[in-house]
Every structure is written in C-alpha cells, then in structure tokens.
C-alpha cells in the first residue's frame, strides 16, 4: 500500500480483506477457465472478472484479465442497473449484455452479471466478461462499415430469471452464431464462474462479519483514488501536447490522427482529445469505455503498478473525448477491430509523458496494434470450427533496459498454443520464430518481433480474417533510437496486405504473419559493443545489422568485438556528426 495508514490494526484488516477480495475474483477466473469451451477463454485468457457492491461500484478484479475489458467494468454494472434497478432483481437472476457502448466496444465481449443475495438482501454482483469465439455477423468483418455487420447485439437482459433459463434468449443467441455449442458452453462457464464467486462473497461477508459490501467498497475505492493521486502528484505540473498519425486512413483518405493535450495538475491527469479524427466507416472505432481503459492504464502501469484496482483508481484520470471521434464514436460505428486503434492511445499518452518524465515511459511498441487471426471452416471430421490464433510483436525499449520480445501489451491475452490450435483446426503451424534485426536499434534495443507461418492442411478452403498492423508505419525509436521492423501479412509469398483483410485459404495455402519489433531508446552508437556481440551470438541482431545500425564490427571467427574497427566506425560517426 502506498498511502499512509494511521492505525496499524486498520491497515492489517484492510490488507486481509483486500487479499480475500482478490482471491474471490481469482476464483471466478479459475472457474471460468476450467469450465470454458473455447480456446480463446480457456487458453488465451481473454476475459476479465469483477466484484461489485450493491450499488454497482467495482470493488476488485481478477489478477489475470485483459485491461480493455477490465477498464470497461467500472461502468458496466451501473449501465445494467439503469435497465434493471436493484428492486427488479431477484435471487437466481443472471444478466447479460454485449452492447459495445455499454460493454467493451465489440460484440464478442459478452458481460454476464449475477446479483448476489445474502439472507434475502442484495449485497453485490459478480461479473465476468469473456471474449466469445463468435457472435455472428460477417466472419471477422475486417471491412465492416457499421456495427450491424458485426454480429448480434444482446441489450441488457435477464439470461436467467430466478434460476430458470430464459430459453427464448438462449435460442436467439445460439441461432445467430457460428459454433453455438462453444458459445453456449462459454456462457454457461460465465454463469458457473459468477456462481462460485457469489458463494465466495457470501462466505467472506459471514466470516468477517461485514454488513454488506458497500462500506468496504467506499474504503477500497477511496484508498486507490488517493494512492493514484499521490503517484500522479510526483509528476511535474504542466500541459503538454502530442499526436500520433495512424497508418489506417479516415473516410477522406487521410491518416487517422490521435491528438492529446495532457494536463497534470494537483494529482490529477486531464486528457483532452480535441482534434482527434472523426469516427470512420471502418471497424476500428473505440468506444469511450475502451478509450477510458487505455487512458487510465498508462498512469497506473508506469506510476503505481501495485495499486488495488477498483472504481476509485479511475477517478484521478479525467477524460475529455469529443463525441463522434474514433475514440468516442456514436452508434452505429463499427468497432470489431478497435484494438487496431485503441492500443495507440497508450502510444500517444506515453509520447506526452515522455515530454514530462522521459525515464518513466516505454518507447513506441511493436505490440501496438494487437494481432489476432480468426479462422473458420470444416475439419477432417466434417465439423465446423471457428478459432483464433494470437502471436504478438516486441515491446518498446525503456531508458534503462531493452524491450521485451514477443509479448502482449497493453492488452493481456496469451499467445495460442500451437498444439492446442492444431487439435481444433486442420491448419498446421509451420513456423514460429523470432525475427533477427526486428528490434529497433538503440542504446537499449526494442523487443524482437516474430514470424508465424500457417498452412491450410484441410481438404477444403478455410476462411481467414487476418489482422495486424505497422505495415508501413513501424514503431519509432525515442531519443535518437531507430524504429522496430514493420509488420507484414502475406499469403503464398504474394505482395503483403496493405490493411487487415479477409481471405479464403485454398488447401496448401500458406499465410505468413510477421509481427513488428519495438522501438529502441537512445542512440544505437551508445550501446555497449559487448551487448551487441551477445545479440549477434544469440541471433537477435545480425553481423550486418551490428555494423550498419550499431557501428559495431564483430570478428566472424569468434564472435568477439573487433575493437579497433568498431572504434574507427564510431569515431568516424562522431567526427562527421
């Protein structure tokens, strides 16, 4: 705990209660994983689980979750309660909603919430958001123009009433989606997970003799708010501006631009996005919930990573995002691939923070945007399959260390296990390996990107929606460093895609995905030549790359640094510069 606590007994009790809340939230996540049917939930961990008090205030969330969904959770319960006020809820009810504007910005993220009753009184809610394998619509609508093309939207509804399933709603959902057994199975997993969490909350209330959860919520939220304010107050007050031009274009063909004016004042951060591009007829619009998630995230992640996460943590970051822009689009904007854009919110905030506190930030990352591939077709047994494949690029470097290679950021979902994937699909993964020279050269190097090659080994064609980015705008380096490598998607060695796209893969077709590297930090010539030699030995950097990017000459015989040649090269650079 970062804040000052006066009474040690209070502090202790708080820590014990907090630890129990996390453990209940984690138990929800564990149950979800254990009972889910889709790989995206049970192996990629694309979910978030939260606990709420009786008013819908978020108390805590699971340790393992993805920030986009988790960042939407503080408001989702309030929105649900607007439709179903507490007095309309009964023991045994379960609510559902996947409206992008209430939830996490696209239809596959389905929220299921269970009111928790104890001795006949509503004490709170457990809620899970899971990314479903399919919600209907055009398969992986990489070219959707409106939300109508992106699958069925279930407004806030009762999925279960007093323990009785709402059969009409179940039938409506399962009739509209691919692989209904998996969607139904995952919905049931969410219901079971909430049930286990509700039991945990009731046990906790009994054990600690609490009168409901509301007072505890106030206490945890106030503490988190105060702690984050204190952390933000360590930054110098002031106002800075930054903008990022995205490689995806708006409806006029101009690059989509994210404009930010960041004001730090008295322990609060005000983010004004005036000037950001208007919403587009492409599936990349990020609803306000998602924008908020990725605006709060950089402050917590770079200033106060141990902060207890709850509704209070969202208060010190104030957003002003004009309506009708790509970061606050209005209905019916498409948003299936909002992560192509929303991850760059972190880049623009990091860029602004760099002007205030350069040592705190990460260089632009090759992990923006998220790469996620969706495949559908029939397996050898004739059964329909729909599944995802995830693999990500390299993180940006820091002022004092290299970027992490092949990692997800700022979202948080696991890569796809090759073996599990091949059990589900007739595709074969032919290659998954790091790309030499893909990390942005710098005093500290960007994380490496990687290459994945997938082959359609089915008898028939497989439909694929392939998405990624940095196809022509690589992750730039900071403070004199070089950019990471560009991303690329191509089929059978044809010229690479210029944007995420759908394609039918004939038997034998091979898809190559090259996830980009992260930007470096600081001038490459300032990198210790011995570290460059290690990079060359490990194949992270080629000998050619060492010479061209780092001005380091490696002896081909033994892999050591040719000190004299390196000194000459670096000296020439200094004198000419």
């Amino acid at each position: 705990m970062t804040e000052h606590i006066k009474d040690p007994a209070d502090a202790l009790r708080f820590q014990v209660l907090w630890s129990r809340l996390i453990s209940v939230a984690d138990e929800i996540a564990t149950t979800l994983v254990k009972t889910a049917f889709s790989l995206i939930v049970r192996d990629n961990h694309d979910y978030a689980c939260g606990l709420y008090d009786s008013r819908g205030e978020m108390l805590a969330q699971s340790t393992q979750c993805t920030p986009g969904q988790a960042g939407s959770t503080p408001t989702v319960m309030h929105d649900m309660l607007r439709i179903y006020p507490p007095e309309t809820l009964e023991d045994g009810d379960v609510l559902i909603c996947n409206d992008p504007w209430i939830g996490a910005g696209h239809s596959p993220d389905v929220f299921v919430a269970t009111p928790v009753f104890h001795h006949g009184r509503l004490i709170g809610f457990t809620c899970t958001c899971a990314h479903h394998v399919d919600m209907g619509g055009r398969l992986g609508g990489t070219d959707a123009r409106e939300v109508y093309e992106e699958g069925i939207i279930v407004p806030v509804s009762k999925l279960i009433r007093r323990g009785e399933p709402n059969d009409e709603l179940f039938r409506l959902i399962t009739r509209n989606v691919r692989t209904p057994d998996k969607v139904l199975g995952d919905l049931r997993a969410q219901i079971a997970a909430n049930h286990v969490g509700a039991d945990g909350l009731r046990r906790m209330v009994d054990e600690f003799d609490l009168d409901g959860l509301d007072a505890l919520a106030d206490s945890v939220c106030d503490r988190s708010e105060a702690a984050l304010r204190k952390a933000i107050a360590t930054l110098p007050d002031g106002r800075v501006q930054h903008e990022v031009a995205h490689e995806i274009t708006d409806d006029d063909g101009e690059p989509i631009t994210l404009c930010l004016a960041l004001t730090i004042e008295g322990g609060a951060a005000r983010l004004d996005f005036a000037g950001t591009s208007p919403q587009v007829a492409k599936p990349v619009n990020a609803v306000l919930n998602i924008t908020r998630a990725y605006c709060v995230f950089p402050f917590i992640a770079s200033l106060s990573p141990d902060l207890p996460m709850n509704a209070g943590a969202f208060r010190p970051v104030v957003l002003d995002v004009p309506e009708g822009t790509v970061l606050n689009p209005t209905y019916p904007a498409a948003g299936m691939y909002r992560s192509l854009l929303s991850y760059f919110t972190v880049e623009v905030i990091m860029g602004a923070l760099h002007k205030i506190a350069p040592d705190r930030v990460m260089a632009p990352s090759g992990t923006y945007p998220l790469w996620i591939q969706k495949f559908a077709g029939r397996g050898a047994d004739g059964r329909e399959f729909v599944t995802h494949f995830n693999a990500q690029g390299g993180q940006g470097a820091f002022a004092d260390r290299d970027g992490v290679t092949a990692v997800v950021f700022p979202g948080n979902i696991a890569s796809t296990s090759v073996e599990l994937f091949e059990h589900e699909t007739p595709l074969l993964v032919r290659r998954r390996a790091l790309l030499t020279d893909s990390g942005g050269p710098g005093r500290f190097r960007g994380g490496l990107g990687q290459e994945t090659v997938l082959e359609n080994c089915a008898a028939g064609s497989v439909r694929a929606a392939l998405s990624g980015g940095r196809f022509h705008v690589p992750a730039p380096g900071l403070d004199g460093a070089g950019p990471g490598s560009e991303g690329a998607i191509s089929v059978n060695g044809a010229p690479p895609f210029t944007r995420p796209d759908r394609v039918d893969l004939a038997p034998g077709d091979r898809v190559s995905l090259r996830q980009p590297g992260g930007g470096g930090f600081g001038p490459p010539v300032a990198r210790d030549p011995e570290r460059v030699a290690v990079d060359v030995r490990e194949g992270y950097v080629s000998a050619v790359g060492a010479r061209q990017d780092y001005s380091v000459v490696i002896n081909p015989a033994d892999g050591t640094v040719d000190q004299a040649a390196t000194a000459r090269l670096r000296g020439a650079l200094t004198s000419s510069g």
Partner: protein, 687 residues
C-alpha cells in the same frame, strides 16, 4: 520381510543435512544434524551415515529403507549451476522457451521482466521433423541431420540435451529416435525427452519442464549414483528412495529419469510430517510452519489434505508473483515461502521503518553473533540479545554465539538510526519479522479459503518453535504443536510418507463409447503398474488404491477428478454430474461427458513411521534466565529446561531446549508434553 523395522530419513537442506532413524517396533527416533557439504552433498550424507553407524553399530545393515529429500535440484536451477544444456526443437520452432505464452503476469506493471531462458538461443537447435496432433507423421525425422546437430553440440561442450518436439505426447517416436541416435553414436550426452518427462499437450509448459529436467539431470544422476555406491560401501543393501515434490516416495531409478519431480523434495517432507502430527493430535486443519536460516515456509493443511498444484514455478523474477517464473508442470506441494529466517537482515529504510529480509546473511558469513565475519544485524542476533537463545548452547554447542557482536550490530543497523537501545531494537526486529510471517500466512490462508478456527500451528525447523508462540497469537490460533526433534522434522515427514505411486494414462473417450469391461481392463493394467512400484518399496505390505477418472464435458479443456468405485459408465456419469455440480453449481444434461485420463494411486498401508513417539522423561534441573517478554516489554525470568525434562504442565514464560531448536512458551501460555511425545502449547484466549 526382515525382523527389523528401521528406516532412515535424510534431508539435505541448504545449511544442514538432517538424519532421522525411526524404529517402528519401539517407536523411537534418533536424530542427527550435520553441516551440508554444498560442493558434494553426498559426502555429508556419508559422514552422517558413518556417525550413525558409530553410535549404533550394525545400523546400516539393519535399515529397511532410506528415504531422501534434497535441495540439489532447486539450488542448481536458482544458482544456474546446471549442465551445459541444449534444446532440440522441431524445425521452425526454436524460440518457444523465450516467447513463453506472451501473457503478462502483472497487467499493470509496465516494466515487468521475465526470467532469462535456461537455454540461450545459440544452444537451441532445430531438427527437420513434424508430428501432427493425431500422432501421425507429417515430416519424417531427418536422422542424418539430427546426428550432425548432436555431434556439433558435443563439440561445443554441451553435456545434456532436452528434446521437445511438437506433439511428442501423442507420438514419441521421433524423440525416441533421437535418444537412440545418441546411444548408437556413443555421444557423451545426457538426454531428456519431453515424452518421458511430461507427456502432456502444450508445448511451452512441456518444453520448459523438460529443459529444466535436462539442466539438472547430469548433476542429480551423478549424485544419486555416488550416493548408491557410497551407501553400499557403508553396508546398506536396501533401496534408495526419493521424496517427490507432490508427496509420495519413488525409487532412485525412477527419480533419475525425471529429477524435475524433486524440486520441492525437502519442503514436502515438512508438510507431510506436520499433517501426520496434526492428525495424531486430533486436528484436521493445521498450518505447517517451518522456519530455517533464510526462509520460512507455510503450508495449509485443510481437512487432512495437503494442497498439491500442477502450476508450480521456479526461478521467479518476482518471488511472490505467480507467472513470473518458469513452469514446472509436475505435481508439487502448494506452499508459500517468505524471506524470513534466522539469517534475515534487519535494516531501517528511508521512511524510518524497520525492514527484515528477504535478504539474508545465510550460513556464510551468517549473523553477526556467529563471529564468522558477518557484521549485519539479523533475526538470530535479535534473538540472542533478547535472551531467547543460549549463547553457549546453540546447535548443540557447535557455535558459541557472541552477544557483544549481536548488540553492536543491532545498535549500528537499527538502534542508532532510530534512537533505540540494542534491546529495544532487538524487540522491534522480532516484532516486525513475526508480523511479516503472520501476515503472509494470513493472506495465504485467505487465498486458499482455509479456516483457522480449529487449526493448530505445527512449528518446526530451527526457528519455527521459537517464533510460533508469537505468530499463533497474531493469527488467533489457540494451539501450537512442537514435535520431538523439531529441527529435523522434515526428515521425519519423509519416513511418514507411505510408499505411493501414481500411474496415469491419457486416453480421451466419450463415456458413451466405452463400457465397463474396457474401463475395468484399463484400470487393472494401471493398477498392476502402480502396485509393482509400491511393492518394491514396501514388500509384502497391503496396498490400497484410489481409482480416478479425470473428466470433462466434450469441448472443455480442463478436467475434474472423479472417484471411480465401479467402472460402469452410467455410474461414472452420475458421479461426474454430482462432482461438477458441487464445484460449479450447475450440471448439464445436453452435454456429453468424456474421460480424458485414468489414474490409479497405489499407496502402501504399511504402518507409517509414526510421528507419535513416546514420552520419555529425564530429570534435569530447571534453571532461570532473563529473556524478553513482549507482553510487558521487559526482561523477565524464564524457566529454562530441556525438552526431555518437561513433565506435567509448564507455565510460561519458559524456554525449552531441543538439540537444534528452542521452544518459546510465552507468558500465560501452558505447555505440556502429551503421551505421544510432542509438546502442546495452549495459548490464552485474550492477548
């Protein structure tokens, strides 16, 4: 069956090697503690054997079993002192060890790190081959290429290889071919195959586990070989058994194939012993509390069960953050380790707060009071200054503690910065370290949903019995149990573990597509295999079995364990639905259940080495010494007496001495040695 029932438990820890001889006929135990010989741990074992033989001639020949726990594996990983290891992977997949699962273990920490891959990239080689998910061959193994690769590795000085090929759990042929090539070419390489070490789906977890196995195997193999030779030389003709991380002992021959299963070999002994003692004392719920030189370990025993996890990790970047280490996906006892031991360093931080641990002075140079060149204040120094430890009788007189050095260290590191006397500083240090331990235990119990109401604290290890009184009070526990020979209690746990072996076979089948005969036959063959291993460890003893089906609904990825008494599919389906409903609140008629894995756990019913000894009382003069009383904040007179002299009820404050451990009985507590020989401390209700 021999007439004698002597068994020896031997626990090689980081600082000490503990021995415990148990005589099943008389129920007596004999303990011995000697310094570990880190460079060649087996020589310490042999020294101990020699001393035991000296004390009781003919002992080695009379022993029927020797059960061994070792920190060799975990230390080799933590200290990066394993073999020169290479990884052989399917062509196209050299980086699985480094790309991990890409997920971040702490979503809000932008600067998180991951452990360095155990095998650097230049030692990761690809071979041309490919299996498919169904076990069919997509690309045959290029044997000539494999041989050339292996030869090149030998030339580079590699001595151990991990072979982890895609889908080898489904078809191990290519991995086995590589092992054969090594054999036939006579290459000096130790080979670990993923299909032997962890024949389970998911390439990262299997690769990580197999790599760790390869990294430690040559070391463990040589060690066990030398141990076996040494034991034979010492006159011991019986088998050498090893304690597995998940409980259960296995023969050394089995252990040598997969030493990765020994990573938590030592701590599991303590957990098992604590469970046995709690059980004997009538407590189904207990907290095992083992405090040693550098860390304290806590394990929650709930309803008589020790928690076992399959998502154990080693080499964590953040010791207390799940996901920040390298997975070892084999069954391992689920305990927490806190950086709080006798050697933990005490300092004052920038905010003027006292911090204790996790940094430790370890055994070398050790606490300031050891007089071995350590000058920093430690927990042991504070215990000396507070009068809890007898300077002239520490570790049976092996070290004479220097009180002056301890006071000087406490004054310099704590007292002077805070304006405390050395005594006040010492009391503050102990209060902080006890609070740290209690808090960590409290959170661990909360996370595990445990219930402390009727739980007992079982205290052991060199420091456990000294700190237990205070920690139990902080946790609101009423009972502390301290065994005879608390300092070597983990070794007793090894003896208490029944010879047990689990055999499993993954064979996914929908319940509707199998029948009673098929299932019965499958269980019978597993049973025969498991029984054979147990019979080797406990010849002639009756064996009990647990038959388990791991099941799920078709389409799910995780299984529930369902006990199978009668392998009739309809009965199994009903048990599964019942188990599922109990765990998750729902069960479904429209979904098809399937069996993924069948398991048989065979366990010897042979009377275990009982933790209950006998209460032999020897007379001794009760002395008095001034020691700190945290309730009155003053030095008060404590009764001082040896453990064996405890007769009747001892009223605290008292300090009771055992070889290698001191038991503190605080003010208003009552201690009594019960008939089983252990000490029960009843704490007052109010603080």
């Amino acid at each position: 069956m021999t007439g004698s029932r002597l068994r020896l438990g031997c626990d090689v820890g980081g600082t000490f090697t503990d021995f415990l001889v148990h005589d099943a006929e008389t129920g007596t135990t004999t303990a011995l503690k000697i310094p570990t010989t880190p460079a060649t741990p087996e020589s310490g074992v042999m020294q101990g054997m020699a001393q035991l033989e000296w004390d009781r001639p003919g002992l080695a020949a009379e022993l029927t079993a020797l059960i061994h726990g070792t920190t060799l594996v975990i230390n080799a990983i933590l200290e990066r002192k394993g073999a020169e290891t290479a990884l052989i992977a399917t062509r196209g997949f050299p980086d699985l060890l480094e790309t991990r699962r890409e997920i971040r273990y702490d979503i809000y920490d932008i600067r998180q790190r991951f452990p360095e891959p155990l095998v650097p990239r230049h030692r990761r080689r690809e071979v041309t081959e490919r299996m498919r998910a169904d076990g069919s061959v997509d690309t045959p193994l290029d044997q000539a290429e494999a041989l050339a690769t292996l030869r090149a590795l030998v030339e580079e000085g590699v001595t151990s290889v991990a072979v982890c090929l895609l889908h080898a759990y489904a078809n191990p042929t290519h991995e086995q071919d590589i092992a054969r090539i090594v054999r036939e070419a006579g290459l000096p390489l130790d080979v670990s195959l993923s299909s032997d070490v962890l024949p389970e789906i998911q390439e990262f977890e299997r690769t990580a586990t197999t790599t760790i196995n390869a990294y430690v195997r040559p070391k463990v193999d040589g060690y066990l070989q030398r141990m076996e030779q040494g034991l034979r030389g010492a006159g011991y003709g019986g088998p050498l058994f090893l304690m597995q991380s998940g409980g259960g002992v296995i023969a050394a021959t089995t252990a040598r194939v997969a030493p990765v299963r020994l990573a938590e070999s030592g701590p599991v002994g303590g957990a098992l012993a604590a469970r046995a003692l709690a059980d004997a004392a009538g407590h189904r719920d207990a907290i095992a509390f083992d405090m040693g030189g550098t860390t304290a370990k806590t394990c929650l025993i709930s309803a008589g069960e020790i928690p076992v996890t399959r998502s154990y990790e080693v080499d964590r970047v953040h010791r207390f953050k799940r996901g920040s280490g390298t997975p070892i996906a084999v069954p391992t006892v689920d305990l927490i380790e806190i950086g709080a031991g006798g050697g933990s360093l005490a300092t004052v931080d920038g905010l003027g707060l006292i911090r204790v641990g996790p940094e430790s002075a370890a055994a070398d140079p050790g606490p300031a009071c050891y007089g071995r060149g350590g000058h920093s204040a430690t927990v042991t120094d504070a215990n000396v200054v507070l009068g809890f430890l007898d300077p002239s009788d520490f570790l049976e007189g092996a070290i004479t503690l220097d009180v002056v050095e301890a006071e000087a260290a406490l004054a310099r590191d704590i007292g002077d910065p805070l304006g405390f006397t050395p005594l006040e500083a010492a009391a503050a240090v102990i209060s902080v370290v006890d609070e740290n331990m209690a808090q960590a235990a409290r959170m661990y119990v909360a996370e595990h949903g445990g219930n402390l109401e009727r739980a007992a604290l079982v205290a052991f290890g060199g420091g456990g019995p000294l700190h237990a009184d205070s920690i139990a009070r902080k946790l609101g526990l009423r009972t502390v149990l301290v065994p005879d020979s608390a300092g070597v209690f983990s070794a007793l746990g090894m003896l208490a573990a029944p010879p047990a072996f689990e055999v499993a076979r993954s064979r996914p089948v929908r319940l509707a597509y199998t029948d009673r005969e098929e299932l019965a036959a499958a269980f019978a063959s597993l049973s025969a295999e498991a029984r054979a291993v147990v019979a080797e460890a406990a010849p002639g003893a009756p064996i009990r079995e647990r038959r388990i089906a791991e099941m799920r609904y078709v389409g799910q990825g995780h299984q529930l364990r369902v006990a199978v008494d009668n392998p009739v599919p309809a009965k199994i389906a009903a048990s599964f639905a019942e188990t599922y409903r109990a765990a998750y609140g729902y069960a479904y008629d429209d979904l098809e259940p399937e069996i993924v894995t069948l398991r048989v756990l065979a366990e010897s019913e042979v009377p275990l080495a009982s933790v209950a000894g006998t209460r032999q009382v020897t007379s001794a003069t009760v002395e008095e010494r001034l020691a700190w009383d945290p309730t009155t904040h003053a030095m008060v007179a404590h009764q001082i007496l040896p453990f064996d002299a405890v007769d009747g009820v001892i009223q605290g404050p008292a300090l009771i001495g055992q070889p290698g451990a001191t038991i503190r009985v605080g003010a208003a507590a009552r201690a009594e040695r019960v008939a089983g020989g252990w000490l029960r401390i009843d704490l007052p209700e109010a603080l």
